[in-house]
């Protein structure tokens, strides 16, 4: 759960007429709207440049003496390595279709949060140093000098983008700010400019195996705790194998699933499901993190952290990999993993051992999303579900950005939900599926010091939830993303009090009628199953 705010800040949402000259890079690092700087220990642990103690509010950021050359060389290198970057620098016509599509613009009213303005912060440097017209005509051609103030501005605005890709849906050329943000963050990392809330989990993920730095024995403890809890709820002995060689399937989940609430109830749901169908699986204490905070920092760190999954699958000798509920984890697994760390030729074509379904869509990566897996089970009538156990909940579903716009996983979770719950209502069409609004805390921005900006960025999502709460009495917001589960409760508490947050497999776990279970009296949260209980 997010922190309980002792005094609720008053946030007014207003889209005012932009003032000032966009070319002025100076930023006011106002408390509540930015993330703290990374610590030297984490950068050193990852072998990254320029580790030092600093904060964004410092006048002197202690950049390396040749920071400008490093940035410009870095830009040149990436212009040659990524067609996306070069194309997106070249072709924007500033038609403005993206302007009011960004949740940070809608929530903050800051014109530099309009996607085409955010990109222009880099484009202006690109023009000045890499195009003929910019070199000749400078400002008239839309160029700007690269100064330390620009570095600070980049830090502020590219850590005020959650890489959600909503702007890219509306752009006539498919310009994707997420791509630009990823590259600018990578550039900033070359001079040691990054944030604590990303680098600490990344360093722990690298060294220990997961974002929270949970060592193998504690990992085992928390899974055993879950098994105990499941015994209380279901009366069944549920085994959770760890590092078991020869299992058919390696199950990888975001670490929050076994160490945070409400994620934890989703973990219970997975484990009930695996037990009920008798799945031959294992989890891994080495690859105990599905999430990838490296992806919020740089290509190389993303690849390095992701490598553990295939390496572990190879070591354990599993046939294929199943992945839990997580947004950016699935962006990496779906669009990057096979390219970065494949080919996965040591694995086999994923086949559901229960239904025999061949997951042809994962024929190369050999990794299947848990919602695909479960939807297939339900479709083949392999699960006995009692949706009335979820009757206290009036449910809506938040499409997490990455599975919707970087994958297209839209129907599978809905199919599971509609079979596991009786009361389901969609939010307005302009705010779901490919048009979904971000939680406002993704891509490493979900820290407490950034709270005001998170609440602002999450406002469009909350606004849509408020709509269905008023219309249908919705009291539960479901999702398939660990960052959502960590940050939406805070967002709901602020904008739409009375709405809880849950994973799709928590709903499944509640509804799942298990062989030999005792009479279920409470749901996975320990709340009585009687109707109306969740509203209390």
């Amino acid at each position: 759960m997010g922190p309980i705010m002792s005094e609720k800040p008053v946030i007014d949402i207003a889209l005012k007429t932009p003032k000032g000259d966009w070319r002025d890079p100076r930023v006011d690092f106002r408390k509540g709207t930015f993330s703290y700087a990374s610590l030297p220990k984490d950068l050193s642990a990852l072998g990254l440049p320029n580790p030092r103690k600093w904060q964004p509010t410092d006048l002197d950021w202690q950049l390396p003496p040749d920071w400008k050359r490093i940035l410009l060389d870095g830009m040149k290198e990436r212009l040659e390595k990524y067609r996306s970057f070069r194309l997106f620098m070249d072709v924007c016509v500033r038609c403005g279709a993206c302007a009011d599509k960004c949740h940070f613009y809608l929530g903050s009213g800051d014109p530099k949060n309009m996607p085409f303005a955010r990109a222009e912060l880099v484009r202006s440097i690109y023009r000045r140093y890499f195009t003929l017209s910019g070199k000749l005509f400078g400002s008239l051609a839309g160029g700007r000098e690269l100064t330390e103030d620009v570095v600070k501005e980049w830090f502020y605005y590219f850590y005020q983008c959650t890489e959600c890709r909503r702007c890219s849906v509306y752009c006539p050329f498919g310009i994707d700010t997420a791509e630009i943000t990823m590259i600018v963050r990578e550039l900033l990392s070359l001079i040691g400019v990054s944030t604590h809330w990303i680098m600490e989990p990344a360093a722990k993920s690298f060294q220990v195996g997961n974002h929270l730095g949970i060592p193998p024995h504690a990992f085992k403890d928390s899974l055993e705790f879950a098994a105990d809890e499941l015994r209380d709820i279901t009366g069944l002995d549920i085994e959770i194998p760890i590092n078991r060689k020869g299992a058919e399937i390696l199950f990888v989940m975001p670490s929050a699933d076994y160490f945070a609430t409400p994620h934890y109830y989703t973990l219970l749901g997975y484990m009930m499901l695996f037990h009920e169908i008798g799945l031959d699986f294992t989890v891994s204490a080495y690859a105990s993190e599905g999430g990838n905070f490296g992806s919020f920092h740089s290509n190389d760190l993303m690849k390095s952290l992701n490598a553990k999954i295939y390496d572990e699958a190879r070591r354990l000798g599993v046939k294929w990999i199943l992945g839990g509920e997580c947004g950016h984890m699935w962006r990496v697994l779906h669009q990057y993993m096979d390219t970065m760390n494949g080919p996965a030729d040591f694995l086999e074509m994923p086949v559901s051992p229960i239904t025999g379904t061949r997951f042809e869509n994962a024929a190369s990566t050999r990794m299947v999303h848990i919602c695909e897996f479960t939807a297939d089970l339900i479709h083949h009538d392999k699960l006995k579900l009692d949706p009335s156990r979820n009757d206290p909940y009036v449910v809506t579903y938040h499409d997490s950005c990455n599975p919707s716009r970087g994958m297209g996983l839209l129907e599978e979770p809905r199919y599971v939900l509609k079979n596991a719950c009786n009361n389901f209502h969609e939010m307005p069409a302009s705010t779901i599926r490919e048009y979904t609004f971000c939680c406002g805390s993704g891509a490493g921005l979900g820290n407490d010091e950034n709270m005001e900006m998170r609440l602002r960025g999450g406002f469009p999502r909350a606004n849509a939830v408020r709509h269905v709460r008023e219309e249908h009495g919705v009291n539960l917001l479901t999702c398939i993303c660990a960052i959502d589960k960590a940050t939406l409760p805070t967002l709901m508490d602020y904008w739409v009090p009375g709405v809880q947050v849950a994973g799709v497999h928590e709903m499944l776990g509640n509804a799942l009628v298990m062989t030999g279970e005792k009479e279920r009296t409470v749901n996975l949260r320990g709340e009585p199953l009687a109707k109306g209980a969740a509203d209390a």
């Binding site: 500033r94 051609a141 509306y170 498919g174 490598a307 990566t365 939807a375 129907e411």
Partner: protein, 332 residues
């Protein structure tokens, strides 16, 4: 400021064109030398830009998926907005290029009293469509001047374009559309505060240049008529590399030709290259099949990892105590 600078630039070009005929050698420059140079710049410039884009690697398969993926056979997919084959990705690009699919999604957000509402906003799509299709028809109509015999579709296009049958010469629909669309796009840039905040010189210059071209062309058709025969002789001469400077070219024609030359020179170095981007954009032209078919990154380089063996060595004691299996059982 940017708008004024752009207007001044176009005005200067127009004045140069208007008075070129009065200066010795001016007519020759505007009708022969500059058009050749401009055409050459256009061809080389566009080829250079497109080859630069096409030659830059696409390390990852990153389509923006705008609909249901293909996963389980019984789930209906969105084959165009989330294509899973190269063919369907090509269809997606074609619809993007021909009908501006993404722009059609446009909406407008309104905020009042901490509430957010959305309304449809399709005017931008309509104006963009009118502008680009009209430009295409207008360019094709101009083939009348450059080709002999005139291709069959040119008179056909003119017939349809003039189907309103108003006035003589017949009023062409595309002439109205192109001017209306340009004025709309210019107007929203000046009126919409979000766009005014970040409209560059180039944004106004491109619109004003096109407007200048359209208006000078329209003037020649409906107002200060020019000698079509000599214009055709000039263009045919240029096309066959036997250019002949016309005897007394009309100032309006010189303005028109100079602005078109300016456009040709400007295009490869400006945002007007966006027409090429639709086809090369990796968020649009790739199939969403990255789990089914392996995508190869040509520069994929090795990175340091924390291997299982290293990790187990660091954790062997606690793992043994917790009863977790160890690979290297001999760890001390």
């Amino acid at each position: 400021m940017n708008a004024l600078a752009a207007a001044a630039a176009v005005l200067v070009l127009m004045l140069v064109g208007a008075f070129a005929g009065a200066v010795p050698g001016g007519a020759a420059a505007v009708t022969v030398v500059i058009p050749y140079a401009a055409f050459l710049t256009l061809v080389i410039g566009v080829a250079w830009r497109v080859s630069q884009w096409a030659g830059t690697p696409v390390p990852y398969r990153i389509p923006t998926t705008c609909g249901q993926q293909r996963s389980l056979p019984w789930i209906a997919t969105a084959p165009v907005d989330n294509p899973d084959t190269g063919l369907m990705a090509a269809v997606r690009v074609a619809i993007e290029a021909l009908a501006f699919r993404s722009l059609l999604r446009n909406s407008r957000a309104h905020v009042s009293g901490n509430r957010l509402e959305f309304s449809e906003a399709r005017l931008l799509w309509l104006a963009a469509l009118a502008l680009h299709w009209s430009l295409l028809v207008i360019v094709l109509r101009h083939l009348r001047f450059a080709l002999q015999p005139v291709p069959f579709f040119v008179p056909l296009l003119e017939t349809f374009d003039g189907i309103l049958q108003i006035g003589a010469p017949a009023l062409l629909i595309t002439d109205i559309l192109v001017v209306a669309a340009l004025l709309f796009l210019l107007g929203r840039r000046l009126v919409n505060p979000l766009l005014r905040y970040l409209s560059l010189f180039t944004d106004y210059f491109a619109l004003l240049l096109l407007l200048g071209i359209a208006l000078s062309g329209i003037t020649m058709r409906y107002g200060a008529r020019v000698d079509i025969v000599s214009v055709k002789a000039l263009v045919l001469g240029l096309a066959s590399f036997r250019p002949a400077v016309p005897a007394a070219p009309s100032p309006v024609f010189l303005v028109h030709l100079l602005l078109v030359s300016a456009l040709a020179v400007y295009l490869p170095f400006s945002k007007l290259m966006h027409f090429g981007a639709v086809f090369l954009s990796p968020t649009r032209n790739l199939a969403n099949n990255s789990r089914r078919v392996r995508h190869v990154n040509p520069w994929n380089h090795p990175v340091p990892t924390h291997t299982y063996a290293e990790w187990e060595a660091e954790n062997a004691d606690v793992m043994r105590a917790a009863g977790l299996p160890l690979d290297g059982a001999d760890h001390v």
